[in-house]
């Protein structure tokens, strides 16, 4: 089986439009196993129970931002090595710095298109999708 058929991804964004755009891009890439979550806290609980390979996460969300979620994931052994890509409209130096400290895997600036997201994912998994 190819990578894209094996890769399990979770999309986390409080905005339905953004979720739809990301999952649409995943569809175009042929990634089959993905789920989408609106609430970062619920996503954390789900990831703890059943981890995925890669998380595509928005930055600004109510309750918990993307980096806070990443930090929580890194702290528990089951999810510590999960791949994490932040999708943000404002990739500020602050986010980059904090992200690197938390072993953030990649950063995608909004607006993005499918090739851009594909490149970002391929950079992380080190394989062609």
């Amino acid at each position: 089986m190819s990578v894209r058929e094996n890769l399990r991804v979770m999309v986390i964004d409080d905005m339905g439009v953004s979720r739809a755009l990301v999952t649409n891009a995943l569809d175009e890439m042929g990634v089959i196993h993905y789920s989408a979550e609106a609430d970062p806290k619920a996503a954390l609980a789900k990831l703890s129970a059943s981890p995925v390979h890669l998380v595509l996460c928005d930055m600004n969300m109510p309750g918990m931002n993307g980096l806070q979620l990443l930090e929580a994931l890194r702290r528990q052994p089951a999810t510590a090595n999960i791949g994490f890509i932040v999708i943000t409209g404002t990739p500020s130096p602050d986010i980059i710095q904090k992200g690197q400290a938390l072993r953030l895997n990649n950063l995608v600036a909004k607006p993005f298109d499918t090739p851009k997201l594909r490149t970002a994912i391929e950079q992380v998994i080190g394989k062609r999708l």
């Binding site: 439009v17 891009a25 609430d39 052994p77 409209g89 990649n106 607006p111 992380v124 998994i125």
Partner: protein, 711 residues
């Protein structure tokens, strides 16, 4: 990305929700509630709109939201102080953002100059901050570089590659599963062997049965929960998949699933259910059947997620095509008619002696009403979004007239039929503008009168006995009755020297052609007067009233029916025709005594009632139908309240009873009939016209009333 239309609709729906949140937050801020969480929430709303708008190439919107967001970011990180001036800019920017979103939705051109002005105001705030502030503040000219329009990621982030193989756990994982069926599992027809077979499909399964609890074969009693299994499953499947196998026996067995490996126990603790407790329970011989380990493991995060969902996100909703609801609505209308027909038929056949039949007919009636109410509730929406739009109108109007005004909303959770809300938007906008423009005084004059320079407009909604009452009240100077009367006389709306009561003068402003032109400004003087408001409200089956107190302010009251689908009416007949008069218009029914009705002129009559004279209108003559009663039969009058001519008495042949009917429009099926607003189908299958008392009174041509005056 060529984002398709479905995403686009979703974007605008979400943007609308975000704008509503934004507006709420701003109200909370202006009420003096300063809390960092509110500022964060405002920031997030603007940020989310910007982020999504980028995907649809809405450049003007993105640019503006970006600048707005920069200012909000300054406030949230304490680089900018939220002064009253800044708050004003923040508020106006929220308004402008709403305008831009609306323009993008309708794909209309926006006034670029307005955006420039709004951007300049935001820039001014940023400049002021960088001039005084010790902290460096990104200025507007810098920000676009880091902005969303940029093509290539230049933020210098080095991607960190992931060792997918280690994460993918290439080798199958082992799970230790304890499974102890309750007797109820067998009672429900489940078979452990099948469950085990299903598990075996997931991977390699080792089973070990625990027979220790099994009594000796000679024991007379069957011991419950005698069998249990210890299973070890090596699989690629997730724990979820294993749990899924046991879905149907959830609560019918004790079950623990534990992944082998160093990390899982911690995960379980993380979820708030220490595994020890669960296993202890399992060891207890008489463990309560519900206290299963699987529940202990999953219940916690599930309930936590639920409470989070309740707090942060609105309740789940379903978006439905409006046409489908319309269809349901029509079907329910027919159902109600059908129900009343059957009830009437049962009555006619005298079947009501049959107790069973009576019970069924009654429950049918109740069911039909239940369905009707439920369907109506689908269309009901809170007036809040409409009211929020009004608060924008108030700010715009205040800016346009150089006045200071605030809007106070009361009862914005009141639910009203969707169509009513939609059709109310224009008249309400007009009245709000009118209140700011004509109602409130300028700040200097207000100060001189000892009032707060900031005028207040109250907008409230409430349910009152089957209707919705919306009031618009201002604390301005009230109507200048002398001027109003003067204008009306000048325009020939009332004869000079007419003796009018205060409320009659107040109501003159609703007359077509009345417009206090000398006082019209750019705002409300858009060629529409309040008569348009009255017409719009009347077309919704409502009425509008005005109460003015000099020096204290003016209050407009709009009373509307809850729905446009059903109507409470008084069933009357004229000639052989059944008709309904809306109950909202009916004051009373009377049989006048001799002498109470007086002839005036050749064919006019007046009813004298409690010291007042009320014109009598002959319905039969007006509708061109012959009367069905003898000329010397006692007169029967229905007193109705009309907008145009106050109280009038309608002469009818018979008054039957009050009933609720389903409104069937005539316009689409037949055509407009003067004096008739719609039709309905009665229980006996007859069609009854629904009268519009106002139209009848307005077109009244009295004819031969003298003949019917009781002597």
């Amino acid at each position: 990305m060529a984002a398709n239309d479905a995403f686009r609709d979703l974007f605008f729906e979400e943007a609308e929700d975000l704008l509503a949140t934004l507006s709420d937050d701003l109200v909370r801020l202006s009420a003096g509630e300063f809390d960092n969480e509110i500022v964060h929430s405002i920031f997030r709303a603007v940020h989310s709109i910007k982020g999504s708008a980028g995907a649809f190439s809405l450049e003007e919107l993105v640019d503006f939201a970006h600048r707005y967001e920069t200012v909000l970011d300054g406030v949230r990180s304490d680089r900018l102080e939220l002064t009253p001036d800044l708050f004003r800019v923040v508020q106006r920017s929220a308004d402008h953002l709403a305008v831009l979103v609306e323009a993008a939705r309708t794909e209309q051109e926006t006034d670029r100059a307005v955006t420039e002005t709004a951007l300049a105001a935001l820039d001014a705030c940023l400049c002021a901050a960088s001039a005084t502030g010790a902290d460096p503040m990104p200025t507007a000219s810098e920000t676009p570089e880091a902005g969303p329009a940029q093509e290539e990621p230049q933020f210098g982030f080095v991607p960190l590659s992931l060792d997918l193989d280690s994460l993918a756990q290439t080798g199958p994982q082992s799970f230790d599963i304890c499974f102890r069926p309750h007797p109820s599992l067998y009672e429900n027809g489940h078979e452990p062997a099948l469950l085990l077979a299903q598990l075996a499909e997931l991977g390699h399964l080792e089973t070990e049965i625990d027979l220790s609890a099994l009594p000796h074969w000679s024991a007379p009693e069957i011991v419950e929960q005698a069998l249990s299994w210890k299973l070890r499953l090596a699989t690629d499947a997730t724990q979820d998949a294993i749990e899924e196998v046991f879905d149907f026996v959830d609560g019918l067995c004790d079950l623990t699933i534990q992944a082998e490996g160093n990390d899982m126990p911690e995960t379980v603790v993380q979820n708030g259910a220490p595994i020890e407790t669960a296993t202890t329970k399992l060891a207890e011989p008489d463990a309560a059947p519900t206290a299963t380990c699987i529940e202990a493991e999953t219940a916690e995060p599930a309930s936590a997620a639920k409470s989070v969902a309740a707090a942060d996100t609105p309740r789940p909703t379903l978006r439905v095509d409006l046409d489908r609801i319309e269809r349901l609505f029509n079907a329910v209308g027919e159902l109600i008619i059908n129900q009343s027909m059957i009830a009437q038929r049962v009555d006619d056949l005298q079947l009501h002696h049959d107790a069973d039949m009576a019970v069924h007919v009654e429950s049918y009636r109740l069911l039909a009403r239940d369905i009707q109410e439920a369907v109506m509730a689908i269309r009901a929406q809170p007036v809040k979004p409409l009211f929020q739009r009004m608060s924008r109108i108030v700010r715009e109007a205040a800016d346009g007239t150089g006045k200071q005004a605030q809007l106070v909303m009361v009862g914005e959770g009141t639910e009203v039929d969707k169509t009513v809300i939609e059709r109310l938007a224009d008249p309400l906008t007009h009245m709000i503008r009118n209140s700011v423009d004509h109602g409130l005084e300028g700040p200097e004059q207000r100060c001189a009168n000892g009032k707060d320079p900031v005028g207040t407009i109250w907008l409230s909604a409430a349910h009152r006995s089957g209707s919705v009452v919306i009031t618009i009240r201002d604390d301005g100077g009230g109507l200048d009755r002398e001027k109003v009367l003067g204008v009306a006389v000048k325009k020939g709306l009332v004869p000079a020297g007419a003796d009018l009561s205060e409320s009659e003068i107040d109501n003159l402003i609703f007359l077509p052609g009345f417009s206090t032109a000398s006082a019209t400004s750019l705002l409300s003087g858009r060629g529409v007067g309040l008569d348009v408001v009255r017409t719009a409200v009347q077309s919704l089956g409502g009425r509008v009233n005005i109460v003015s107190r000099p020096g204290k302010g003016t209050e407009f009251t709009i009373a509307l029916p809850l729905t446009l689908a059903v109507l409470d009416g008084m069933l009357i007949s004229v000639g052989n025709i059944s008709m309904l008069v809306p109950i909202s218009a009916v004051l009373e029914t009377i049989r006048p005594l001799a002498g109470e009705v007086q002839a005036v002129g050749p064919d006019e009559c007046l009813l004298s009632i409690r010291g007042r004279f009320v014109p009598v209108i002959d319905l039969a003559a007006n509708l061109g139908v012959p009367r069905a009663v003898e000329a010397d039969a006692p007169m029967l009058l229905l007193l109705v309240e009309t907008e145009a001519r106050g109280t009038c008495a309608l002469l009818v042949d018979r008054v039957h009873d009050q009933r609720q009917v389903v409104i069937k429009g005539l316009e689409s099926n037949y055509g407009h009939v003067p004096g008739v607003s719609a039709a309905t189908v009665l229980g006996d299958g007859q069609i009854a016209l629904i009268l519009d008392p106002d139209a009848i009174v307005a077109q009244n041509h009295g004819a031969g009333l003298r003949a019917v005056i009781p002597s």
